[in-house]
Amino acid sequence: MGSRASTLLRDEEIEEIKKETGFSHSQITRLYSRFTSLDKGENGTLCREDFQRIPELAINPLGDRIINAFFPEGEDQVNFRGFMRTLAHFRPIDDHEKNKDPNVSEPLNSRNNKLLFAFRLYDLDKDDKISRDELLQVLRMMVGVNISDDQLGSIADRTIQEADQDGDSFISFTEFIKTANTSLEPWARLPGTTLHHCHC
């Protein structure tokens, strides 16, 4: 099951991915094995159905949107680099990394980028605003088909009212950051130093 992977990922590639995403060597090879085991078509890329086959993802209300986050605009296949780039958002925030060079772009797993990832899950039309409709759609997905539209509408209205500060009844990214101002640590649980099995 695992031995195919070892022959196909070259050291230079691993180094590049390490630099771009910040994952460690062993994490990258581990995720590469996972990538190849998901890639049932054996063509080095994943299609949407490959993701949908994961049981936990199929029952996750946000499953489809998370899957979409992996695929760049208009494309139906994602290769390993793209896969890692998206997953990099979920590494714990490296507070101790100081950016000495101001020209280097923010690391993928910075707080800002994590929030941006979540923001994009809401903002489907990519106009950098969450409209009432987009919020309703997410609510509907999380709640299911059995709450009345009125009830959902009032939940959405209340949420927008609380978050919207400039009064345009949209939620912009800055307003989103203020509303969803959590510590984000429970959100990203990849090990920095702790590694242990979960026998739940």
Partner: protein, 414 residues
């Protein structure tokens, strides 16, 4: 007695005759009769344990051989990659809200940050697989003596090659014919049985008989695949008037589920053998088969499904997978249609044990028949089925947005 029926000089004929009779008797006693009564003799579990021991030995040989020859044996799985502390969904949501917001905790039904939990769960499931996490590194590296799952290993040592050859012989010359016989028996009995039950007038007795016939034939088919299935949480089994939603990786899923309960199947009408099976199944109890043209009409699909679901005497619906990757659109559509009906949904998760081979059907590479042959010539299919708690109207009416998925998502055993 056989001497009187065959020419005297043909010893081979005699032997064949005797062995055939013995073979069939054994088959009948050990496999078909238990299948009819739904009893397990424990033969398959014993078989599985023996296989695992052999695989372990083979793995050790590989490692020793690799060290001797200085091959690079890559062990990519060192530890679980996700650091997790098990917490229930409600606790997690509270923690997310508490850590950021200064608001009152007691009331809000929905916060924008509630999606973080699902986001993380989703990505965690992409990164890692609960099944592979349970195994130690040695077990994952084990080779299950099938060349189709591992390309380099059979030439490392002579003993291993011999074992591999022996395995090949056993699988193709003993197991495969056995399984094919069973499969034909099972399918044949299904067609004959359901046609006969179809003659009876509609009523409780007919339903009872049809249930028995279906279960019996599916159990025989399960044995034909040497599928060793563990069912978890059977108290959540789908009931009449509901829809069973399963993550399908292959058509074998249907056999696995249907051998534990009775379902009404939903799918496209096929020709050939499948068509015969479909037509005869419908005689015994109502299934929903769509013509290819009807599949595209979403409202028609939704209407037929909801009509079926409203009749409480009819069996829960199970959606039959049509294939994967390329032509999966109809399954997706059936699934979306089932969401719109708004009835009770029974999620089911099926996990195949990867140590025994990959049950995935790449429909662009292999047709149905060659896929089934591959399945039947592998060692066994070991899987677990989890019946997840149903998703119902009542669960949602108290307005808590995440209640709907509380039970489904915290089942961290999946």
């Amino acid at each position: 007695m056989a001497f009187f029926f065959f020419p005297f000089d043909s010893l081979i004929c005699v032997l064949l005759g005797i062995s055939f009779t013995v073979w069939f008797t054994l088959l009948l006693v050990f496999i078909i009769v238990p299948a009819i009564f739904g009893v397990s003799l424990g033969i398959r579990k014993l078989y599985m344990k023996t296989l695992l021991k052999i695989f372990k030995w083979a793995t050790l040989r590989i490692e020793r051989g690799a060290k001797e020859k200085n091959h690079l044996l890559y062990k990519p799985y060192t530890n679980g990659i996700i650091a997790k502390e098990p917490m229930s969904l409600e606790e997690e949501i509270k923690e997310i809200r508490r850590s950021g917001s200064s608001k009152d905790l007691s009331s809000p039904e929905f916060e924008m940050s509630d999606i973080f939990y699902f986001c993380r769960k989703g990505v965690e499931s992409i990164m890692d697989d609960e099944v592979t996490k349970r195994f130690s590194p040695e077990e994952l590296e084990s080779w299950n003596l099938l060349t189709r799952s591992n390309y380099n290993f059979q030439h490392i040592s002579l003993r291993l090659t011999v074992l591999w050859g022996l395995g090949l012989l056993i699988r193709y010359c003993f197991l495969l014919p056995l399984r094919i016989t069973l499969a034909f028996t099972g399918v044949g009995l299904l067609v004959v049985g359901t046609t006969m039950v179809g003659i009876l007038p509609n009523g409780r007795f007919k339903n009872f008989l049809s249930e028995k016939v279906h279960l019996m034939c599916y159990r025989i088919c399960v044995r034909a695949l040497t599928a060793i299935i563990t069912y978890h949480d059977s108290e959540n089994k789908p009931k009449n008037g509901g829809i069973c939603v399963a993550n399908h990786t292959s058509p074998i899923d249907v056999i696995i589920l249907a051998s534990d309960g009775c379902y009404a199947m939903v799918g496209q009408v096929h020709g050939g053998l499948m068509g015969i099976i479909q037509r005869s199944m419908v005689k015994a109890c109502p299934h929903i088969w769509f013509e290819r043209s009807e599949v595209k009409d979403r409202s028609l699909v939704a209407k037929r499904l909801s009509d079926h679901v409203e009749d409480k005497t009819k069996l829960p619906i199970l959606i039959f997978p049509e294939g994967t990757c390329i032509n999966n659109t109809s399954v997706m559509m059936f699934k979306k249609g089932s969401f719109e009906i708004g009835t009770t949904m029974y999620p089911v998760a099926i996990k195949y044990d990867p140590r025994f081979g990959d049950a995935f059907w790449n429909s662009s590479k292999y047709g149905m028949v060659s896929y089934l042959l591959r399945m039947m010539s592998s060692w066994a299919i070991v899987c677990s089925v989890w019946y997840l708690p149903p998703v119902t109207r009542e669960c949602l009416s108290n307005g808590t947005a995440v209640c709907c998925y509380r039970t489904v998502m915290t089942n961290s055993g999946v």
